[in-house]
Amino acid sequence: MHLQRYLPVIAAVLAVVVLHLALSVADATYYMTQITMSAYYALVVVGLCLLMGYAGQVSLGHAGFFAIGGYASAALTTSNLLAYQHTRPIAFCRSLGLLLERQDLYGTSILSFSPWLAFAAAMILAAFIALIIGLPVIRLKGHYLAMATLGFGLIIYRIVLAADGFGKADGIINVPPFRLFDGLQVNGRAPFRVQNYYIAWTVVIAAMVLTTNLIHSRIGRALRSIHQSEEAAHSLGVNTYRCKLCTFILSALFAAAGGALLTHYNGSIGPSEVTVMKSVRYVAIVAVGGMANLWGALLMGVLLNFLSLRGVFGTYDDAVFGAILIAIMLFAPDGLLRMPRLAWPPFLASRRSHG
C-alpha cells in the first residue's frame, strides 16, 4: 500500500525524463522553457488542490500569494544596498554571505540580498500574511470564504499596481538568477534550459511527495472528514479551525514558492501575475483536475498553463479559463479525468476515495 501511493511519483519521474528525450530527439527543446514555467504554476495549483479538494475550502486569492512570493523575492534581490554597505546590519549580512554583488546591463554595481535570503523572507512573509488573513476568513464558509479571499487578491493587486517599490504597472525587472548550489541555478537563459527543466520538476515532484504523504496521514484524513461533514469531524475531536488554517497557510506557501522561483526564472514579475483572473485560472485548473485529485491537478496545471504560455488560446486566454470553469461545473463536476465513468483498473478504483 505504501509503495502503491508512490507509483504516480515514479511515473512522473519517468514522464519527465521521457519528455526531455522526446523533445531532444524532435529538436524542440525550446518547449522546455514553457514547461518549466508551467511546472512552477502547477505548484500553485497543487497547493490549491490540497486546500479546495481535500480540506474543502475555496480560495480566489491564490494569485495574491503567488505575487507575495514573487514580489518579495524580486524586491529583496533587486534593491541596491550599495549606499548602506557600511551600516552595521548590512555589513553584518555581508559577513554572513547573505548579500549578492553583481553588475547590471550597464555596468552599475548592485549589492542586494542573496536569493536564498530573499526566498526565506518571502516564505516567512507569505506564511505570516496567510496567517493574518486566514485567522478571520477561514471561519467563513462557501461563497463567503470565496468572496473574502477574492477581496484579499484584489488588495494585493492594487498594492502591487500602486506602490513605487514594486514598479507599478511595469513590475520588477532584472531579478538575478537564483544560485542554488555550485553549478545549479534557477535561470531562464537558454544555456540553463535543461538544468532548469529538472530543477523545476524536482521541486514539483518533491511537493507532490510531501502532499501525497500528507493526504494519507492522520491530518489528511481529518481534512477529508472536514470536507465531508465538518460538524461530525469537529465532534470527533478534529480541531477543524486549526486544520483549515494550517492548510490555508501551507497552500499559500506552495503558491509563494512557485511565485518566487518563477520570478527568478523569468528574471521579472509584473502585475499581470496578480490579477483576479489568475486566481480564477488556478481554481479552474483544480476543478478540471478533479478537485480531490493531486495528480490530476498537476497534470492539468502543467498542460493548461503550457498551452496558455504557448499562446494557443490567443487573446481569449482568460475567456478560455472562464469557459473551462463553467463547462466543468456543468458537465464534469468530478473533473475531466473522471468524466467518463470508465471501468477503472481495480488497484486504482479502490484508491479513488483518496484521489
Partner: protein, 259 residues
C-alpha cells in the same frame, strides 16, 4: 452512589425570542444509561448540543469529570471524553468504513502536518495502531466485513452502527446518542438495544435522546423528561411511566390520573 460523570446546572439557551432550553439541571452517574425524552421541540437535541459544545449556553454550566466545560469547543470536549452520534447520520460519505472509524482516533493520536508530510517513521507506528484499534472496534460491532466499503454504500441501519463505531473510537467516557432508533425497524431496534447495553457493559456511560418509548423503558436506568425546554420529571423508567405530568404532555389531560 457512583461518581458523577456529567452534571448540568441551570442551562439556558435561547434562539432569538424562543427559549429552547430553560433552567435544566441533571446529573449522569458513571456507568448508567440515562435517557432524555420529551415531545418534538422539547429541547432535547439543543441540550445535547450544549453538552457537546456545538453551541454555548446563554446561562448555566456543564461539568464533566469534575471540570467545567461550559463553552468548550466540540473538539476539546471530544478529547476530554464525550463522543456523540447525530439525529441524521453524518458519516464521511466518500470515505471507507475503516477510514470513518480511524477519524475517530484523531483525539487519541498526535502526528501533525510536518510529520505527515515527511512521513516520519513514528507516523507508520501510529497509523498501524489506529488501524488496529479501528478494526477491533469494527469487529466488536460485527462490522468488520464492511471495513473497506465506501460508507455511503452501506444500508441505513449499518451506517448508524458505523457512526457508533466512529464515536467509540475516540475512547469516550460518555456517549451521547441522538435518536439512535430513528428510522430503524423493530428488529434493528432490538439489536440496537442490545448494542447499547453491550457498550455500557464495556464501561461507557450513555446518554440517549430517544422517541421510541419501548427502547427507552427497556434499557435506561434513569429518564429525564423535557417539555418546552424545561425538565418536568426525572427518575427510573417505572416512575416516569406513572408520572401524571409526563402522561399529560404525551397523551393530554384526559389521560392523566390525579392521585
Amino acid at each position: 452512589m457512583a461518581e458523577i460523570l456529567l452534571q448540568t446546572a441551570n442551562l439556558d439557551r435561547y434562539f432569538g425570542g424562543l427559549c429552547a432550553v430553560k433552567d435544566v439541571s441533571f446529573t449522569v452517574p458513571r456507568g448508567v444509561i440515562k435517557a432524555i425524552i420529551g415531545p418534538n421541540g422539547a429541547g432535547k437535541t439543543t441540550l445535547f448540543n450544549l453538552i457537546a459544545g456545538t453551541i454555548p449556553p446563554n446561562h448555566g454550566t456543564v461539568f464533566f469529570r469534575g471540570r467545567q466545560i461550559t463553552g468548550w469547543k466540540p473538539h476539546s470536549v471530544a478529547a476530554l471524553g464525550i463522543a456523540r452520534t447525530f439525529q441524521t447520520t453524518k458519516l464521511f460519505a466518500h470515505m471507507t468504513v475503516l477510514e470513518n472509524v480511524m477519524v475517530g482516533r484523531h483525539p487519541r493520536t498526535r502526528s501533525g502536518f510536518l510529520a505527515g508530510m515527511l512521513s516520519l517513521p513514528r507516523i507508520w507506528r501510529e497509523e498501524g495502531d489506529s488501524k488496529a484499534k479501528a478494526t477491533a472496534i469494527l469487529e466488536n460491532l460485527d462490522l468488520a466485513e464492511y471495513a473497506s466499503e465506501i460508507a455511503s454504500n452501506l444500508p441505513f441501519g449499518r451506517q448508524r452502527l458505523v457512526e457508533f463505531a466512529r464515536a467509540l473510537a475516540t475512547e469516550p467516557a460518555l456517549l451521547l446518542l441522538d435518536e439512535p432508533a430513528a428510522g430503524l425497524n423493530i428488529y434493528e431496534t432490538k439489536e440496537l438495544a442490545d448494542l447499547i447495553l453491550k457498550i455500557r457493559g464495556q464501561g461507557v456511560t450513555c446518554l440517549v435522546v430517544e422517541h421510541d418509548m419501548s427502547l427507552v423503558m427497556n434499557i435506561s436506568d434513569y429518564v429525564v423528561v423535557l417539555d418546552q425546554g424545561r425538565k418536568i420529571a426525572e427518575g427510573p423508567p417505572r416512575d416516569i411511566q406513572r408520572n401524571p405530568d409526563v402522561i399529560r404532555i404525551y397523551l393530554g389531560d384526559d389521560h392523566a390520573q390525579h392521585p
